[in-house]
Subunit: 351 residues, 2 copies
């Protein structure tokens, strides 16, 4: 490593991953849409960043975007080739490599959130060096993360928290940020996980940060802002999940949120991946979030509940939403369904 | 990486760092005992593992152990050369390198818990390969750490928790384990930090583990045991520390302790390193530890308080200990001072 001299001041470490748009979405050889969740999420939530898709001949999944070769996409203005597909094990199979090499050679940054590190794929690393493009593993934390200071930052913050993993914290935060922006509020989505980072174009995967620095990473994720600005921060895990609560706590302490929304999936009984653990009640999550979160923000409060009713009929969902709002005494909504209930949740976020 | 075939089963990943004793303690060029805290702690708490010390000519600090060259120590039976000294920045200065090279050449593993990774010091790495010895950075987590399962393990566990960092959680756990062993109890100290690992000869630095795996690392640290066995686990940080609470929580959830002891330093008003945060009360830490810890062990309970009275007169310490025991309604003691108060704390740990 070179050493900076006083004549050559070292630039500050990048605070977060920053991706260049527009994206070419790479679908690999996906034949099931479940494996292309990232590409489909990008299409739905970052459509303005998505220029085209590229898939191998075996693929049947499509985002509906124009199909382009990497070279054609680069010529059309694409800046990054984003791997929007995962397979069992999170590795990059050899069959994907020619397409990725073509992307790098065409001048596209290659972006992934897999277990395999792009930089550890020797031919791709060499191609990227040669072409002068970046290989960005969005799960790798940026360098220079600080230990948390606990100091109060300016601006306002809302965090989505959950009764479990994988039930809508990211899309709830996105929907709230978009909904408030549509009302003219100065709101911004802050991504704490890999798909969120690709959607936002920047962020930090908090769960991949060494424990000592996790709260400091969360502090950096939502920096000082103007007094009326609202950061809407994607939550992770659950304070009542026996494996991931430390991630949730670091994000809570470092985010020092003024407001939080509890995300829940009606009907889910067991915590994912940990047999014997029941999904906690929304009330228990509200109480635990306040009990822990008040350390860094004594004014923390819950403003509402987001329900993932994807598996329910419209009538059943509406009934569940109304029943939950009454029981908790706060607005409840499924942000994906929207409607009046969601507008009431936005009112509460805005108040 | 090679791929294991069925004919060549891959051995299981080592669960924790395991160090070979006896140790040669390396004191570098230390002239202040504060920088040799690790060596002095090893002398005091792992005297049976410490064979000799080795220092550079400039050093004035001594552990009182025999002084030996690395070659002489190896000939006398030493297996590891432990860097028992730190300097500002946690780096290995060039002036230490000849002694470390001599240790490796003499067949000693070289062990450190510094920010500099021993394996990144090229000449030392080469010397270790040549001599067939290990370079062990005890802060580097072992490979293959799992995501926590939350499953109840057999045996019993006690965790030391704190009102802040750096006030006696390691030495409290050591003293309790030793005190119970002296009573014939099947108790074992479990190290979660660098000095503790050197003292115990094994362990995992939980704060250096990626957040997603931190609770899983804590699960591995205190594995299944016989029903009457008690693991006495070194705590880290504080649940009410704005930077390190995630580490404390991961250790709490993964340890699933039956019992805990709160460690506190009378007179410390401010949390270390985070201006504006008052040290919480012992009562607040008891309440928070139970509120969070009951997720993985609903039977968790506090058995007493450990007070670090190092800066107090014997009379003032005795008074503070008695007053604290009365206020909390549980045994309180300074384990380093021992005495009847400490025996009552051990009674409570044993009950």
């Amino acid at each position: 490593m070179g050493v900076a001299t006083s004549a050559e001041p070292r630039p500050p470490a990048p605070a977060v991953h920053v991706l260049k748009a527009p994206y070419l979405l790479f679908l690999g050889d996906a034949v099931e849409s479940g494996f292309a969740k990232t590409a489909l999420g990008l299409r739905d939530w970052a459509g303005d960043k998505c220029l085209a898709e590229h898939a191998l001949p075996a693929a049947t999944v499509t985002t509906g975007l124009p199909r382009m070769s990497p070279a054609a996409a680069a010529a059309a203005g694409a800046r990054s080739m984003v791997i929007g597909v995962a397979n069992q094990g999170g590795v990059v199979p050899d069959s994907w490599l020619p397409a990725l090499l073509e992307g790098a050679a065409a001048g596209l940054d290659v972006v992934a959130g897999l277990h395999t590190r792009l930089t550890e794929i020797a031919p791709l690393h060499a191609a990227a060096l040669q072409a002068g493009v970046r290989l960005i593993d969005v799960r790798v934390p940026p360098p220079g993360l600080p230990i948390a200071s606990g100091a109060k930052r300016t601006g306002r913050r809302l965090l989505t928290v959950g009764t479990d993993c994988a039930l809508g914290k990211k899309y709830t935060a996105l929907a709230i940020a978009r909904g408030l922006q549509a009302r003219g509020i100065d709101a911004q989505f802050r991504a704490s996980g890999q798909t969120g980072i690709m959607i936002a174009g920047e962020g930090i995967a908090i769960d991949a940060v060494v424990a000592d620095f996790a709260a400091g990473a969360a502090e950096r994720l939502s920096p000082d802002a103007s007094p009326r600005h609202l950061d809407v921060i994607e939550g992770q895990g659950s304070l009542l999940h026996p494996a991931y609560a430390a991630v949730s706590l670091a994000l809570l302490h470092g985010s020092q949120p003024d407001l939080f929304v509890v995300c829940h999936q009606p009907g889910r009984a067991q915590i994912l991946g940990t047999p014997g653990y029941a999904v906690p009640s929304i009330e228990a999550v509200i109480a635990q979030t306040i009990a822990i979160g008040r350390l860094t923000n004594p004014a923390i409060r819950c403003v509402g509940v987001s329900l993932n009713t994807a598996g329910m009929t419209a009538d059943a969902a509406a009934e569940e939403i109304a029943r939950t709002a009454q029981r908790i005494g706060l607005p409840a909504a499924d942000p994906i369904r929207g409607g009046d209930a969601f507008q009431r949740l936005l009112d509460a976020c805005e108040a």
